[in-house]
Amino acid sequence: MSDIEFVSISKTFPRGGAVFTALDGVSLKIPDKEFVAIVGPSGCGKTTLMRMVAGLEAPSSGVVRVGGRAVNGPGADRAVVFQQFALFPWKTVRENIAFGLKCKGMSRAERDELALHFIDLMGLSGTEENYPHQLSGGMQQRVAIARSYAIEPEVLLMDEPFGSLDAQTRILMQEELIRISRVNPRTVLFITHAVEEAVYLADRVVVLARSPGRIVEIADTRPTRQAEGWDKVASEEVMEMPGFGHLRAHIWRLLRQQMQLPAREKNKDRKT
Amino acid sequence: MKARSLIGAATVVALLLSWYAATDLFGLIDRHRFPSPTDVLAAGSQIMSRGYAGATLLTQCVYSLRLVVLGFLIAAATGVPLGIAMGLSRRFEAFINPVFLLIRPIPPLAWIPLAIVWLGLADSAKILVIWFAAFVPAVINAYTGIRNVDPTLIAAARVHGASSALILRDVLIPGAMPMIFTGLRLSLQASWTTLVAAELVGAIFGLGKVLSTAYRDIYPAMIAVGMISVAVLGALTTRALSMIENRVVRWRRS
């Protein structure tokens, strides 16, 4: 079992003499094998939440638990897919994917076999001996995802993983991610600012507000997903379905409410 | 940041204390080979009041400093314009470059014997060698600085109707300034290294003369005094150059 639990998380930074509150009292439970997306405007602390689960940052108060244990530093039970891919430029595709297995102390033969399995699964066959810079952005992100899956983590953390890809590649990768997570279900925490992506991929979408970062709503997409049969058709058809459109519009409205607040203040300034 | 400088200060204090403990306090290290803090203080006060190797510390320092500053200034005044000219004109670069490439790999210190053959132990020999040492980095960096100015900036100036002279004065030279100062810092470092070497090889006055005399007298504390003086003067001149740089390149983000 590997559920994720945020218990009244707060995060504050000293900023120019004052104290800036990035996250304020965030509590959330993600059951085992659930796919949760967090959306919110930039600066709402969504990436910070993910980094806390990864053990790369600590909350100022509150506690993050994974599988019932408080997080205390990074570990191979939680894999991270970074927006910048974070592939080692000096390692080939195969060596990148096998890196985590090497850290586990696996023998060379074992890790090559496992790496090849994930190369195959992610459609990377033929690129095993290439260096990252020889691949397109989409292919690089496939390698990063394969590297994360290869250590067979309980929890998969994805920080805007498709944020630096072009629009077409992005859609194909989203479909791919749905396919992979059916073969290999994991608890997933997916950070994004793209509403469509969040609704399409996640079981539940958590909407965050900023200054201070807090949860405004949690939308469950599963009833609509099952009723409209999203998983059986291509993504462009899902986008046309009324239930999908309704969810997307609903979340957009929530985000717009927050984004207009500072925008209006700026306009006022300009008039005076 | 605060914790960092605290740790730094603690390290320096710990180092000084262990130096004192290993030499003066417990005598773990042979003082004829490695001086103790009290030895160094005594040597310092000796050279400051009575003098050593022919003059007091102040005179020796002024003597060396004068040669470095003169050599450095001559090198900057000749090297920077040459580098700028090479950066501006491909034809001029083609004319000068082969000779420059031939001379460049020869370490400046290797010029010392030739300078002595030509000019003896006089000041002019040392200034010549320092000039050689400081010249090369000044040229290379001024050249690179001019060549690396963003072509969009030049195009923008041209679109606004700037003449070539104006572009050189208001775009190219200011754009190359950070690189020019990088070169001058290297030049200054090379000047000190070269001066010390030249004075060690042969000199009448100067810190290198203090070092070589102390070596011959097997006087480790005085060697340390000489080294510390060279380091302090090097640090001071570098600081002075940075102050000039900050004034000239005020627009640069720190």
Partner: protein, 261 residues
């Protein structure tokens, strides 16, 4: 290539040739005019003759190749020690802040001491045979090795070390598999600069206290009032320095190409 570019290229080549000709021409003219004594400025031809004859006839105890090899051997030893200590220390300082805070003030102070100022202590502590010169080379090459490893480790992007840690890598593995390869281009530039400074410091040491090697040939040429020998030895010094630089440069560009940086 257009005809205009072709012409310009020829013109540039001609100018290069002209520049070289003017240099050697005026050297020859001054030396041959009889205005300066040949004990001050020998002609280019006399320098070449001196260089060639030193290859077979020993000068100051050995042939010129022998002196160069003696110098190179010392250089290699001092340089290897400088790299072996400087690079790991620099990487560690770049990664662990505490170590950085402890060692930085010492290193800052050390950097201001001109490498040649170590010559008296080097000779006093390790003699003028092998140990002293090696220490002088070390003091010349150490700072660039350390500094560039430090900068390189700083520049390794944080998400790479974070990715390694989330994949289960420990401190040593992060050092060896992320920091070192990530910093390698910078480390190699540091080696290149250090190699040059080490070579130059050695020449200085040989000028001052050591009685063999190519720097010693320079001093002997000077005291025998034989400038043609001095200039020939200077060219040998430059040639070896150039060779070291070319080799390290090619290693550097190969590494950069391979990782697409």
């Amino acid at each position: 290539m257009t005809a205009g570019q072709q012409i310009e290229r020829w013109r540039l080549a001609l100018l290069s040739l002209a520049g070289t000709a003017v240099f050697f021409g005026s050297w020859q003219a001054v030396a041959g005019s009889g205005l300066v004594s040949k004990f001050v400025l020998p002609s280019p031809a006399e320098v070449i003759v001196a260089g060639v004859s030193m290859m077979s006839e020993p000068f100051a105890g050995d042939t010129i190749q022998g002196h160069v090899l003696a110098s190179l051997g010392r250089w290699a030893a001092g340089f290897a020690i400088a790299a072996g200590i400087g690079i790991p220390t620099g990487l560690a300082m770049g990664h662990w802040r505490v170590l950085d805070a402890i060692l930085s003030p010492i290193f800052e102070g050390y950097r201001y001491i001109a490498p040649l100022a170590w010559v008296p202590f080097a000779a006093l502590w390790f003699g003028t045979g092998i140990g002293g010169p090696i220490m002088v080379i070390f003091t010349g090459a150490f700072a660039p090795c350390l500094l560039n490893a430090y900068r390189g480790a700083h520049q390794v992007e944080r998400h790479l070390t974070e990715a390694a840690r989330t994949l289960g890598a420990g401190g040593v593995r992060v050092m060896l598999e992320v920091l070192l390869p990530g910093a390698l281009p910078s480390v190699i530039s540091g080696l290149r600069v250090g190699a040059g400074l080490g070579w130059q410091s050695l020449i200085g040491a040989e000028l001052i206290v050591v009685s063999s090697g190519i720097g010693y040939v320079l001093v002997q040429g000077q005291s025998n009032l034989a400038p043609e020998i001095v200039i020939a030895a200077m060219l040998a010094v430059g040639l070896v320095g150039l060779l070291i630089d070319v080799v390290l440069r090619s290693v550097e560009s190969r590494i950069r190409r391979r990782w697409g940086q």
